[in-house]
Structures are given as C-alpha cells and as structure tokens.
C-alpha cells in the first residue's frame, strides 16, 4: 500500500502535457498548486478552490476535472494535460482561435479551464449540439462574456454555426 505521511514531501512522477515530469509534494498539496508552484505551469488558473468555478479545470487521463479537488499525490503515474498543451507550432489550436475570433474571452481567467472541458467534449462527442455545449459550459463561471461568444466559438468548431 502506498502510504504518504502528512507534513513530509513525497516524489510524484507523472506525464505533464506529453512529457515526463516530477515534483515534490506533501499529501495536502492540491494539484492546482502543484502545477503552478512546483512545476511553474501557470496556465492553469485558480479561482474558488472548492470546485465551483471551473477555472482550474485540467485533464487527467483525458477527463476534464477540477485540479483544486485533486491532490498532487493522486496523479502519480497518470497523464495530465493543461492549457499549455493546446497551441501548436503554427499557433493557436482551433478552439483557441475560435474563442479569439468570437470574443469568447475578455479577462481570460476562466479560459484555460473552458478550453480543457471543450477539448474533451470535442474528442469524445464531436457531434455535440448547443444544448450539450451549454451543459458542459455550466461547469465554468465566466463573469466577462455572458457566455455568448464562448458558445458561438464552440458551435463553429463543432460545425454547428
């Protein structure tokens, strides 16, 4: 049995955005803080820290989840992807470009989390309609856009515009 004592740091080895990564974490260290403070991956934003706002959403083994409701220790041996994985050498990926085109962001605080949720939806449900897109977006709070531009961007990428 893997047993990590409180108050002591333990090595966590995992795959971050396709590359082997490792860091040191106490059991109580949140995945969101681990990514930002231990690994310097600042793309993942931290909002409410109790699972309500969706800003910290990352993908763990492909599933979009709240990184403030996971501990660093829980990604041992798993694959984590963050917003840093999306852009290609050619620039923004299609979801990012569509958000830019449709003014799907203003301050950008919620955007990394939204991109990770929409990325999973795009892969698993490429035929998602507007109702499904809105259902998935309900897990994210955006206080700038009123969501309209985000929905329009998603509809374009999903071929429903």
């Amino acid at each position: 049995m893997r047993y990590l004592k409180a108050g002591t740091r333990h090595t966590v080895r995992f795959v971050l955005n396709g590359r082997e990564a490792e860091g040191e974490a106490e059991p109580r260290l949140l995945l969101s803080d681990f990514l930002r403070h231990q690994l310097g991956a600042f793309g993942t934003h931290v909002g409410c820290e109790h699972g309500s706002c969706g800003a910290c959403t990352v993908r763990v083994d492909g599933k979009a989840v709240r990184s403030c409701l996971m501990y660093a220790a829980q990604v041992e041996g798993r694959e984590v992807s963050t917003v840093e994985s999306l852009a290609t050498s050619d620039g923004l990926n299609e979801l990012q470009a569509a958000l830019q085109k449709h003014h799907g962001l203003q301050c950008g605080y919620c955007t990394p989390g939204i991109l990770m949720s929409l990325s999973q939806l795009r892969e698993e449900e490429p035929d998602a309609d507007e109702a499904r897109i809105r259902d998935v977006l309900s897990g994210h709070i955006c206080r700038c856009t009123g969501y309209h531009g985000i929905v329009q961007a998603a509809l374009e990428v999903f071929g429903k515009d």
Binding site: Y3, L4, P27, G54, L69, M70
Partner: protein, 272 residues
C-alpha cells in the same frame, strides 16, 4: 482554501482499505472522487487525519444487475453510471437524475456512492435511492450489512455509517414493466445545489413522489391517480422546510406543489 495536513493512503485492495479504516477509526475518511469531501477539506469544514483513497480499487469499479437491482460499486463515477449502456432500460429514473448531479467536470470524478455517503439534503442521488427504496451495502473489517435508504440517511449530512464502515456499493432497484418516471429540479443555475428536486415513479395503480432540498432527508409519499392537489399541499407542508439564503420556506412549498404536480403528470402521460 487549502486543506489541513493529512496522511494519504492508497490501498491496493478492499481488505487493506478496511483494515486501515478499522485502525484509524473516526480520524480517517474514505475518499473516492473527493468532489464533496475535497471541497469541505479545502474549506476546513472537514479535517481528517488520514484519507483513504479507494478510487483505484478495481473490485469496487463494477456495475451489475444483482437480485433485481443495479449494484453500483463504490469507485464507480457518476459519469460512468450515466454512460452505462443498460442504464435507460434498467432504471430510467437514474438516467433522468444523473445529468443534474454537479457538472460534467465533477461527474467525471465524483462517485455515486460518495454522493450517498455525503448525504446532502439537496443532492439528487440520495433522493433517487430513497424514491426507488434502494439500499446501501456497508462493510467493515468484521461485518457486512445491507441498509435501506430510509434507515441509512439519518439526517442532514448524517448517515448510519459506523466509524469503521464504508459504503462498498449501492443497490438501485431496476424498473418494472409498466412503470414510468420523471425527475425535475429548480436551482439558481444548472449544476448548482437544488432548491427543490422532485422525482416520481409510478404505474397504472399509483405513483410515489420524492422531494429533495426541503427537509433534512428526502421525503417520499405514495399517491393515487388522478393527481390530488390537497395531498400535494399537505406533503409540501409536512416537509417542514425553512428559510435560508437560497429560498424561503414558502417558495419551497410552492415548488413542491408545482414541480410535484408536473412530475406526476409526466409519469401519467408516459403511462397512457
């Protein structure tokens, strides 16, 4: 908004988890998806000395029909049950209720049994279990017992779980021929905690109506056809809801009357 220090244990099998729980007792908490417990720990509303993570235990990751009920293991996520191909045929009420549980993102880690263990008065899965007269399977190192929904939920976020026990599975009775069901909810935003949630299931003889979000535990009544407004009104008053920051007791009673009637009408329409 950071949790207090705790030991983190990742047992390799159920026996190890139960042995550790027996050793640590009340100081330990079982964690499956952590979508409620993790939030409470971040807010320091829960401060366990040890967390026993059961999410990876293959023996708890099963969904099967056993003795007339869908038996859902304690490591099965809400998203996994929702995408179980037999769900709509076996128990449509669960397929109707699960999309209301949290959000897309939290359903991918949050477990069915974890939601039952958390026992929030406004949450959907305890309501579904109560309406269907389902059961939970509780296990400790020494014993295993099956407890009905009404006896399991003892109050607001309180259950019959002993300190050395954990839920290993939940049993949701499968639907019978000639039954129909409905699930409706009002919340401030989709995915927020329900102000009132109603679930109904019935056949030609009559229906059961369940309500969450008003009393400390789900309330369930049996009704005949046609839908009787006096009975609905009496039920709404009997739940004894209180005013809080989300809604007044009066508004909740009105929702019970209106959503209750609508859910029962949906069941009735589906039957005819």
């Amino acid at each position: 908004m950071k949790p207090a220090a705790f030991d983190y244990a990742c047992p390799d099998n159920l026996d190890e988890a139960l042995a550790l729980l027996a050793e640590k007792g009340e100081a330990a908490r079982i964690c499956a998806g952590g979508q409620s417990l993790g939030a409470m720990m971040n807010m320091r509303l829960a401060n366990p000395a040890a967390l026993i993570d059961i999410a990876g235990l293959a023996e708890l990751k099963t969904i099967a029909v056993v003795d007339g009920a869908i038996e859902v293991g304690a490591a099965v996520t809400q998203a996994e049950l929702l995408s179980w191909p037999e769900l709509v045929d076996r128990q449509p009420l669960l397929a109707q209720a699960l999309p209301w549980v949290g959000h897309y993102q939290t359903r991918q880690r949050g477990t069915v049994c974890g939601s039952l263990a958390h026992s929030d008065p406004s949450s959907e899965l305890p309501l579904a279990l109560a309406l269907l007269r389902g059961e939970v399977i509780l296990q400790s190192r020494k014993s295993r017992r099956v407890v009905g929904a009404a006896d399991f939920q003892t109050g607001m976020m309180a259950t019959a779980l002993a300190a050395d026990e954990m839920i290993v599975g939940a049993r949701f009775p499968i639907t019978k021929a000639g039954e129909a069901s409905a699930f409706l909810e009002v919340a401030q935003r989709h995915g927020d905690f329900a102000i009132v949630a109603v679930a109904a299931i019935g056949d030609q003889q009559g229906a059961r109506l369940g309500v969450g979000g008003v009393a400390d535990t789900p309330g369930v009544i049996e009704l005949g056809w046609p839908v009787n407004d006096t009975a609905l009104n009496d039920f709404a008053w009997s739940l004894g809801g209180a005013d809080d920051q989300h809604a007044t007791a009066r508004y909740r009673r009105e929702l019970v009357r209106r959503l209750g009637r609508r859910a029962l009408e949906e069941v009735h329409d589906a039957l005819s």
